[in-house]
């Protein structure tokens, strides 16, 4: 079943990309109308999509997928963006893209499995130690709403929110499990901390006056493009249903934070993290979709949160399709809402900035710990060295992915060292 799902996701996403209905890479979305409206050739489009997406597949999607043995959505959907735009823009091309996309989905699943199996039979099995990459992030992620507050409203309010979040976390630690009418309810500290932080951020943001953010104007300028998305609603709903089902199977994750939480078995926290992240993505997806007429195959990413809350693949599929449909039907309303609360749109931007900052730090520390568990001493040395080397070399590896990548490299190095009795 999982394999069929991956094939369907790959195939469907490649066709959607081929037809210019939906692409995953946010950078590719604004380029699609340039092609559709004949200002760019198919060849240029294909080259652009490859340039934009390939580095992210190799330097971001794959390392995360490997480090937790759950496929990060970027690995598959950035690949299908490339496949879809490379295939010719006709019915044959769409069919070809569908087939290659499906093969890619299956290949990715098998490929990752094969690599993991290979790791297991190596003289030094470092898979268990590799899990340490995610340990800091599954706790540290709860800090990001406070940091978003700091970006938007200054260091004082940010510091206040950070302290508040920390206190809420510790209270949850002490009072859990809660006994209510003889019923034992365990309270998750990180979940509570995240809720406290997000609530504070949203209260501050909703109260922020300021200039209008003009998203509504976009809707009127680009009404034809909004209509285009609406006309594609059935396909997008199916796509959303498929991704949602796979997420509920826990074989797919929408972002590195929920991926690591899922791999540690903290599904509800993963759902909360995915939900908070989705709030951050609403402005980006809504504005790029309205202005381009191209949607994203996972929409505003609410489907990931829903799937993790539901955890039943079949129900998740239905709910996923419904969520995507609602997102699309309400696209105009979302724009009005963003205009009414300009602070919320800004908060979305700041949530994404602060999430990636937290990920950078937490995954670097996690990568160091994992590497050092694999080869004590050498691990710290190597990850620190590689991180700075990556900086000097202008980040050939996405900064956030240095920790996981370095830890995997140390695992491989450990095996080479073992050959020469160096460990």
């Amino acid at each position: 079943m999982q394999l069929i799902l991956m094939a369907l996701i790959g195939g469907m996403a490649a066709i959607l990309a081929n037809k210019g209905i939906a692409v995953f890479n946010d950078s590719l979305r604004p380029v699609i109308p340039e092609y559709v409206e004949n200002r760019m050739s198919r060849k240029e489009l294909a080259a652009t999509s490859f340039a934009m997406s390939f580095g992210l597949v190799v330097g971001f999607g794959i390392p995360f997928s490997l480090s937790a043995n759950i496929i990060l959505i970027h690995s598959i959907l950035l690949g299908t963006d490339i496949i879809g735009t490379w295939a010719p823009d006709n019915n044959k091309g769409a069919a070809g893209a569908g087939v290659v996309g499906a093969l890619y989905g299956v290949g990715l699943t098998y490929g990752l499995e094969a690599i993991v199996n290979l790791f297991e039979v190596l003289p030094v099995n470092f898979l268990e130690d590799l899990g340490a990459v995610g340990s800091p992030i599954v706790v540290a992620f709860a800090a990001f709403p406070a940091l978003a507050v700091a970006y938007q409203f200054g260091i004082k309010k940010g510091g206040f929110t950070l302290i508040l979040t920390g206190i809420v976390r510790q209270i949850a630690v002490v009072v859990s499990p809660l006994m209510i009418n003889g019923l034992e309810i365990s309270i998750n500290p990180e979940g509570m901390a995240l809720i406290a932080g997000m609530t504070t951020l949203l209260i501050f943001a909703a109260g922020e006056k300021g200039e209008e953010s003009n998203v509504g104007d976009l809707v009127s300028i680009f009404s034809k493009r909004v209509e285009r998305i609406k006309s594609n609603l059935p396909y997008l709903a199916v796509m959303g249903g498929l991704v949602s089902a796979a997420t509920a199977y826990l074989i797919l994750a929408g972002d590195p934070i929920s991926l690591n939480l899922v791999s540690e078995g903290a599904i509800n926290e993963a759902a909360l993290a995915a939900l908070a992240r989705a709030v951050g993505f609403v402005p980006l997806i809504a504005t790029t979709a309205i202005a381009t007429g191209v949607y994203g195959p996972v929409g505003m990413t609410f489907i990931f949160a829903a799937a993790l809350f539901i955890q039943n693949p079949l129900i998740a599929a239905i709910v996923g399709a419904v969520i995507i449909s609602i997102e699309i039907l309400l696209l105009g309303k979302v724009a009005t809402l963003l205009d009414k609360f300009p602070g919320i749109k800004k908060a979305g931007d700041n949530i994404r900035t602060s999430m990636s900052k937290v990920l950078e730090v937490a995954l670097l520390v996690g990568g160091m710990n994992a590497a050092n568990a694999i080869i004590p001493g050498f691990g710290f040395f190597f990850v620190a060295g590689l991180y700075i080397l990556n900086e000097i070399g202008d980040q050939p590896i996405v900064r956030m992915a240095v920790g996981p990548t370095a830890a995997i490299m140390v695992g491989i190095i450990a095996n080479i060292f073992a050959l020469f009795s160096l460990v």
Partner: protein, 118 residues
């Protein structure tokens, strides 16, 4: 000369970096990405800088929609750092809105300003 900072990520850092390099030579304003693109369209600012994680979506999406691709250039992508030759080329081609990844923020802003100010 006026530079507007649009895009969707690390706006404060971009603005700080511009001030740090150019000082009083340029006026910098952080704006909502849609407003920033409109400001360029109305001729009230000269250049648009924006960042996101991919260099083109949040960074440049609104500028692309409002100003068209003839005015926009993505100068860095994940794993593809900004190159000075490319920036010179894009500036000569009349591009005024530039997108880059937040990873490459410092180098991108430094190279852009160096060539714009010359």
């Amino acid at each position: 000369m006026k530079i507007v900072v649009g895009g969707q990520v690390d706006k404060q850092k971009i603005a700080k970096k511009i001030k740090e390099i150019a000082g009083d030579q340029v006026e910098v304003e952080i704006m909502d990405d849609i407003k920033a693109a409109n400001t360029i369209k109305q001729g009230k600012a000269d250049y648009y800088f924006g960042a996101c994680h991919t260099g083109g979506g949040g960074a440049l999406g609104m500028a692309m929609a409002i100003l068209s691709s003839t005015k926009c250039a993505t100068i860095s992508m994940p794993a593809k750092p900004p190159k000075e030759e490319k920036i010179v080329e894009e500036l000569e081609a009349g591009k005024v809105a530039f997108g880059f990844t937040s990873d490459h923020l410092e180098k991108a802003v430094t190279l852009l300003l160096k060539n714009i100010l010359n």
